[in-house]
């Protein structure tokens, strides 16, 4: 009989009117890897933040090794052997690895003896787990994968017995994921307990021995991983059966309608982020861009959609030159020529979060009939139209008057899609269409994109989710350091192959 190392009883937590956790009961056994899966907003991170002492539960109790404990701050949790690797790393970027790790646990007022001892201890820990970290390196010089190791090392140094990881693989390449999983397995073999929060089914099946499923703030099921499968888990997460694969017909490729020649683009700091990129997209085709975040995809999409100036090279739409270094068409003019853009950063570029849904739905078309006449908005028409498209795109709740930020990520994305797809664009540029979007909505969004392709649109899809690239694209290019480092027709391509290209190795 294994005893639970961590036991949560009747945990409740609400933020204002939103109940993030309802009557959570959870037992986590010592020395296991326990998965917690659920859609975005299901309350996984909130629950773990309570365990880490960052948030305080409204009611309920927490036991560690059978002892009732109160966790009033992260300090209490750390002392009780709980460590957490957050989704957004909690590191000070201009500090060294060592400084980040000892922060809060310096052990002395003036740096001296303990500082040196910490360094020695950490070196040993690094060797034990094969972390390969330079303790004097500055965080901002480290890759994402290494920053994550710093976070893990930080928890271990502070004596964590239970290590919570919140969506640890979201920003990693497949190879980095392998490395991380290796580390987690070896930690488990050492007798540490690991709690893995994720929305990726494959990780649960790969790594965990037990899994708890959360939906809308509640735990809807516990099971041994061996007794379940991906389909069953997905159904539990969403509350209905979900299609995990995209239904896609054979490609009916048309003519080349969008062409990019020798394109280079600089970012705001005057660094060249896109280097001599050439690509062509045919009508009826989805071209996927794979790559780790920050390898020029953002700047490429911005240049193609007319938001960012082109440094050199040119862009052609239907054989007509639309942008080069001397002049470029602005997004509004491009829209008129049949080019639509779903920006990567939904909150910043896609929507005005404080506006009502119906305002965002017509934004960009607001000066056209029937939405306005002689510069005066026609609210009746707008509401009528909004009701219609919100139904069509299954935006929930179907309330055009609701402030946009009150919709979930998936529904916000549907609002953008409905706006951009409404005019049946000939070229569609899509960045991270399902980032932070729940499984149910992903299914819907993917289907819409496939429909657009089947109707003859040329689609450029940039995504850091390899699964998404692999399941939607007809052709895949990989970007690394601003350059296209590989192009593959999407037949029997594996994520391993792409992963090597993404890391700039192959």
């Amino acid at each position: 009989m294994v005893s639970p190392i961590l036991e949560l009883t009747n945990i409740n937590k609400s933020f204002g009117h939103v109940q993030a956790n309802k009557n959570i009961n959870l037992k986590i056994n010592k020395g296991t890897i326990h998965g917690i899966i659920g859609e975005n907003g299901a309350g996984k991170s909130t629950l773990m933040s309570i365990v880490f002492g960052l948030y305080q539960a409204n009611s309920g109790s927490i036991k560690i090794n059978g002892q009732d404990i109160k966790l009033k701050s992260p300090r209490d949790s750390i002392i009780n052997g709980i460590g957490m690797v957050h989704q957004h790393f909690m590191l000070v970027e201009n500090f060294t690895v060592l400084e980040n790790i000892i922060l809060g646990f310096e052990g002395e007022t003036f740096f001296g003896e303990k500082f040196e001892k910490a360094k020695k201890d950490l070196k040993k820990l690094c060797e034990t787990y094969n972390f390969n970290l330079d303790l004097d390196a500055t965080i901002s010089d480290l890759s994402i994968g290494f920053r994550q190791r710093v976070e893990i090392l930080k928890s271990l140094y502070r004596g964590a017995e239970i290590l919570i990881l919140d969506e640890p693989t979201g920003v990693l390449t497949p190879q980095e994921v392998d490395e991380l999983f290796k580390i987690l397995r070896s930690l488990k073999d050492e007798g540490k307990t690991i709690v893995l929060i994720t929305h990726k089914l494959i990780e649960i099946m790969d790594l965990t021995s037990e899994v708890s499923v959360m939906r809308q703030g509640e735990i809807v099921g516990h099971t041994k991983t061996l007794d379940t499968n991906k389909e069953k888990l997905a159904e539990m997460m969403v509350g209905r059966s979900v299609l995990l694969r995209v239904n896609k017909q054979e490609i009916k490729k048309g003519e080349v309608i969008f062409k990019v020649k020798n394109l280079s683009v600089k970012d705001d700091l005057d660094v060249t982020r896109v280097k001599d990129v050439n690509l062509e997209i045919c009508s009826g085709e989805i071209l996927g861009i794979a790559g780790v975040t920050g390898n020029g995809q953002t700047e490429l999409l911005e240049a193609l959609s007319g938001i960012r100036k082109v440094e050199s090279g040119n862009i052609e739409l239907f054989g007509e030159k639309i942008s080069d270094q001397d002049n470029f068409l602005n997004p509004r003019m491009l829209k008129g020529k049949g080019l639509a853009h779903v920006p990567e950063d939904r909150q910043r570029m896609g929507l005005i979060s404080d506006f009502k849904a119906h305002e965002n739905l017509i934004f960009g078309y607001h000066d056209q009939e029937p939405f306005s006449k002689s510069s005066i908005l026609n609210n009746k028409e707008i509401t009528k139209y909004s009701n219609k498209v919100m139904q069509e795109y299954d935006v929930r709740p179907n309330t055009p008057n609701l402030i946009t930020s009150n919709f979930s990520g998936g529904n916000q994305q549907k609002i953008i899609l409905s706006r951009e797809l409404n005019e049946n664009p000939k070229v569609l540029l899509v960045g991270q269409p399902t980032r932070g979007v729940d499984i149910g909505a992903i299914e819907f969004i993917h289907q819409r994109l496939i429909d657009m392709r089947d109707k003859g649109a040329a689609i450029l899809l940039a995504s850091v989710e390899l699964d998404e690239i692999l399941s939607l694209s007809d052709r895949i290019i990989v970007m690394f350091d601003g350059k296209i480092v590989g192009e593959k027709v999407n037949k029997n391509v594996t994520d391993r192959e792409l992963g090597l290209l993404m890391a700039g190795v192959a």
Binding site: P74, M90, E93, N94, F95, T109
Partner: protein, 323 residues
């Protein structure tokens, strides 16, 4: 020889004039490194000048005046913290409010207590700080070079001048070589990282503001109980803002901030020296233009000479723990 003594007196004035700037810049470093903007250096300096003068007048001891000034400035820092750290108000607005409040308050209190708007009674020698002559200063005066450096430049300053230059290495050491400094810098860069390390972000910022209050009090006391023998209306005369500029120019680093303060102090000293002097080929420069020199320099330096000053990452942002 006259040229040499001119230079010596110029350097001497530079050291003296830079003193309040240095205290204020060091105070600013503590607040801003912790992520709290401090435009209220100006107001606090004025408050300290007033409280030090009044305290010293009634209590008969300038050190007690300084102590009261410290208490007053720490209170003002706490007020700033209460508005902008605890209640997450806009930090700039809070500072502006403090500055305006202090200008009015000091003038009004002076009028109520002493019958003169914005003026406190002149302090006697016992009630103010006097210049300190270093040992053997007179004996060494005639020795070439050393005499000038020791007796004419280094000796004969108020205690605050020495303290200001002493404060720079101490601040450097605290900020970069102690665990308090590590936490201070971390809380201004990424407060979430500090919170998850089990340190209270709010407490950290209040501590930083308390140190800020102590340091700025020295600047004010220097003005009203050392250089001058009373408080007069708006006597801080923009030094708080100038110090803030020096701190930014010095990239939130004590050493470079010191250099910036000295530069501003030097232009001010030069400005005083140049008044009424006929320069060859140019003639006499209008006083107004010369007086504007330090400020012109500020604008020019900040506008481009220094390169991009990178502020602490989380500066100006109140820490919100729960969404």
């Amino acid at each position: 020889m006259e040229f040499l003594s001119d230079i010596a007196s110029l350097i001497n004035s530079t050291l003296r004039i830079s003193t309040p700037l240095i205290f204020a810049a060091m105070a600013g470093i503590f607040a801003e490194r912790s992520g709290v903007i401090d435009f209220s250096l100006e107001g606090k300096m004025l408050m300290a000048a007033f409280v030090a003068a009044v305290g010293s007048y009634y209590l008969g001891n300038p050190w007690l005046g300084l102590l009261l000034a410290i208490i007053a400035c720490v209170c003002l820092s706490m007020l700033h913290g209460f508005a902008s750290v605890t209640h997450k108000g806009d930090q700039v607005v809070s500072c502006v409010a403090i500055n305006i409040l202090i200008i009015g308050l000091t003038t009004a209190l002076a009028a109520a207590w002493f019958g003169q708007a914005g003026l406190t009674p002149t302090l006697t020698e016992n009630q103010r700080f006097l210049e300190i002559n270093l040992p053997f200063a007179d004996a060494l005066r005639e020795v070439p070079i050393i005499g000038i450096i020791y007796s004419d430049i280094l000796s004969g300053h108020y205690v605050f001048v020495y303290l200001a230059y002493l404060s720079v290495p101490i601040v450097f050491w605290i900020v970069f070589k102690t665990s308090f400094g590590l936490r201070l810098r971390a809380v201004g860069e990424n407060p979430s990282a500090v919170d998850t390390a089990g340190i209270n972000v709010f407490t950290m910022r209040y501590k930083a503001l308390a140190v800020n209050g102590v340091l700025i009090a020295f600047a004010g006391a220097h003005l009203s109980t050392a250089v001058n023998a009373n408080f007069f209306r708006e006597m801080s005369a923009g030094r708080g803002y100038l110090a803030l500029a020096a701190m930014i120019f010095g990239k939130w680093h004590p050493k470079t901030a010191l250099i910036a303060c000295l530069l501003f102090g030097f232009t001010d000293a030069l400005q005083i020296r140049l008044q009424g002097v006929e320069l060859p080929a140019i003639g006499e420069i209008p006083v107004q233009l010369i007086q504007a020199l330090p400020y012109i320099l500020t604008v020019v330096l900040l506008a481009g000479f220094v390169g991009k000053a990178i502020a602490p990452n989380a500066i100006g942002q109140p820490y919100i723990k729960e969404r």
